[in-house]
């Protein structure tokens, strides 16, 4: 077999998979054209349904819609902002977990706190529902102790939704996120710590002057990734926790575009238009954060 022929043959082997990637990941970008049409399924789009920028103008010209988008943006920024503000938590969690000298206990804590990462949001919601419902564990204990008279409706409450969503996110992810820091901690030069001990450093001093500074580069990348994904909270968590009471403050962008496409008559073009804007802003954010990362660390994460 000639070299050239082999070179094309190898390309042909992967061609079907490249086509699959094209269809699954690139073709939906072409789907953005729905934002420029008056699309009402099942009627397909055609030259007659083309409306140009109508739906983009609609977002800014319709005061109700604009207020809606504003509210959703506030929710998105709040949820992402809280996550960002507490993004140090897994790092501190790992630092002090590493301070536990009793290895089986450390292992146990690590195992148990990582488990929630591997269950779906539906299961998280099921756990929440079973534990927090009016006859669930939490209300049973609180009523039993006489701290409250009647059960609290945790899940249908519209107070502190942002913070409670952060708590569930942390419940699910913190143990897992800590593993990366634990790996980084185990890479710290043992001699540095020994030297500090000889000089009489206390444990807090070692943590503060050695461990945490060694973890900061990792933490920096996490912060940058958080910023790059600022608009993308995903919809699953918010979708499963959403109900009529908390809907106003739980709707993030990803959930909002789903809701406008699926509720009522379903406005696909408007939803696509907002999706499109979000995707473009997200890519810009990715470039900016990657650029910042290159400036600060000398290398990007893309």
């Amino acid at each position: 077999m000639s070299k050239k022929r082999r070179s094309y043959m190898e390309f042909l082997y992967i061609l079907p998979l490249l086509i699959l990637v094209g269809a699954i990941s690139y073709y939906p970008l072409y789907g953005w054209i729905y934002a420029f049409h008056d699309y009402m399924p099942p009627k397909p789009i055609s030259a007659e349904t083309f409306v140009g920028l109508k739906w983009f103008e609609y977002i800014v010209s319709n005061p109700v819609r604009l207020a809606d988008v504003g509210r959703v943006l506030v929710n998105t920024f709040a949820m992402s902002g809280i996550s960002l503000a507490f993004s140090w938590f897994p790092m501190i969690f790992a630092v002090f977990l590493n301070e536990i000298r009793c290895k089986p206990y450390r292992k146990f804590v690590q195992t148990v706190t990582t488990l929630p990462n591997f269950i779906s949001w539906v299961l998280v919601f099921s756990v929440a529902f079973n534990v927090l419902s009016s006859t669930g564990a939490v209300n049973s204990v609180l009523v039993g102790l006489g701290w409250i008279d009647k059960p609290i409706a945790f899940l249908s409450s519209k107070d502190n939704v942002w913070f409670r969503m952060w708590l569930w996110l942390t419940w699910k992810n913190a143990g897992w996120a800590a593993i990366m820091y634990l790996a980084a901690i185990s890479a710290i030069d043992e001699q540095m710590i020994e030297a500090a001990k000889v000089d009489g450093a206390t444990r807090m001093q070692i943590i503060w002057r050695i461990t945490i500074p060694c973890l900061l580069p990792t933490y920096f990348v996490i912060v940058m990734l958080n910023l790059a994904n600022f608009l993308s909270n995903g919809m699953e968590q918010y979708y499963v926790f959403m109900n009529n009471f908390n809907k106003k403050s739980i709707e993030v962008l990803d959930l909002y575009v789903y809701n406008i496409a699926t509720t009522g008559r379903g406005n696909y073009p408007l939803s696509t238009a907002i999706s499109m804007l979000k995707s473009i802003v997200s890519v810009v954010l990715l470039f900016i954060t990657n650029g910042v990362s290159k400036l600060v660390r000398g290398e990007g994460f893309v």
């Binding site: 070179s7 094309y8 043959m9 082997y13 992967i14 998979l17 699959l20 990637v21 990941s25 073709y27 939906p28 970008l29 789907g31 953005w32 729905y34 934002a35 969690f93 002090f96 536990i100 146990f108 804590v109 148990v112 990582t114 488990l115 929630p116 591997f118 269950i119 779906s120 539906v122 299961l123 919601f125 099921s126 756990v127 529902f129 079973n130 534990v131 006859t135 564990a137 049973s140 204990v141 419940w171 593993i179 990366m180 020994e194 001990k197 206390t202 444990r203 807090m204 919809m235 699953e236 499963v240 575009v257 789903y258 496409a261 696509t272 999706s275 499109m276 995707s279 890519v283 893309v302």
Partner: protein
């Protein structure tokens, strides 16, 4: 009767650390104690909900219904689980979930291995371009609604393959395999090629056995992803309730109390009611036992894949 003395290891400084550098100051000890307590709390918060659901699902239903089962199972029975087989749709959902997990995982792993290997072949026409073409898809997405509309156009909506095709080409995993293949000595491939083996044969007989360790990691994470997937069910399978997965069915049971009530009246015959309230199905009992069924597979493989954790987190941190 003589008492045996247990031979003890010679202890130089019984009870205390030998190394003076490890001696803890008072402040250090306080930190230790606080750390132990705080982490006990974290562990409890993460573990107790699962324990609570499990003990409730095997306790008397009239007690679990009223939130009386908190610490240990009471009046243990397994009716809640034997009854699940009679709930219409649940078995179908279990089949769909298992099927998509098996097919999806096998394909994801094979594709990651194959593309990972092929992207190390310098001989391939425009290799770098194709690699970037795949890798860059990690960093953008069109948004769910355009995606759904396009999947409909491709005929993947309301079709079992809608669970499979969108998930099997994962750039993360491909890059991981590529990096792993690059670490394998080139001589291994070259020797086989001199013996006349073609590209595919080198992949199948030489590389695949060598990169098995990384494939195990990928398989486990891909399987968990498939099993847990809910969004594709929600978005794509709108007209095919027979294709619902366990995750989706569980979610319906939790949020649509009415459909659950209908199920209960169907599955509970008068005999069960005569037999006493303790084993009669309630909304709580069905919810909890289905939750256990859905979470169980993950919990069962969990001990085996703990050692892949560090590798797994690298999947998320790997560079293209």
């Amino acid at each position: 009767m003589t008492t045996k003395t247990i031979p003890q290891k010679p202890v130089l400084h019984a009870g205390k650390h030998v190394n003076p550098m490890d001696r803890q100051s008072f402040g250090d000890r306080v930190i230790s104690v606080i750390t132990y307590i705080v982490y006990a709390f974290f562990a409890f918060v993460c573990a107790y909900p699962f324990y609570y659901i499990i003990i409730n699902s095997i306790s008397a239903n009239n007690l679990s219904e009223r939130g009386k089962v908190l610490f240990w199972p009471m009046e243990i029975h397994f009716k809640n689980y034997t009854r699940l087989a009679n709930i219409p749709g649940l078995l179908d959902a279990a089949k769909t979930s298992v099927l998509r997990t098996v097919i999806g995982t096998v394909l994801t792993v094979m594709i990651a291995a194959f593309l990972g290997y092929m992207f190390t072949r310098d001989t391939m026409w425009k290799r770098k371009l194709w690699f970037r073409f795949v890798a860059v898809t990690m960093y953008f997405n069109a948004g769910i609604i355009p995606w759904v509309l396009c999947m409909r156009n491709l005929g993947l909506a309301n079709n079992f393959w809608g669970y499979i095709f969108p998930m099997i080409v994962q750039p993360f995993y491909i890059i991981l395999c590529k990096t792993y293949c690059e670490s394998v000595p080139r001589e291994l491939q070259e020797a086989a090629e001199i013996d006349g083996a073609g590209t595919l044969r080198v992949f199948w007989q030489i590389m695949l056995p060598v990169i098995k360790p990384i494939l195990a990691t990928i398989a486990i994470f891909a399987a968990v992803n498939q099993w847990n997937s809910f969004q594709d069910n929600l978005l794509l399978m709108t007209n095919r309730p027979d294709l619902n997965t366990l995750q989706y069915v569980l979610w319906q049971y939790i949020t649509q109390a009415n459909s659950l009530k209908a199920l209960i009246s169907n599955t509970t015959n008068s005999n069960a009611i005569m037999a006493g309230l303790a084993t009669a199905a309630t909304a709580t009992s069905i919810r909890m036992s289905v939750t256990v069924i859905v979470v169980l597979p993950v919990m069962l493989i969990y001990p085996f894949f703990q050692r892949y954790f560090t590798k797994g987190i690298m999947i998320g941190a790997v560079k293209g």
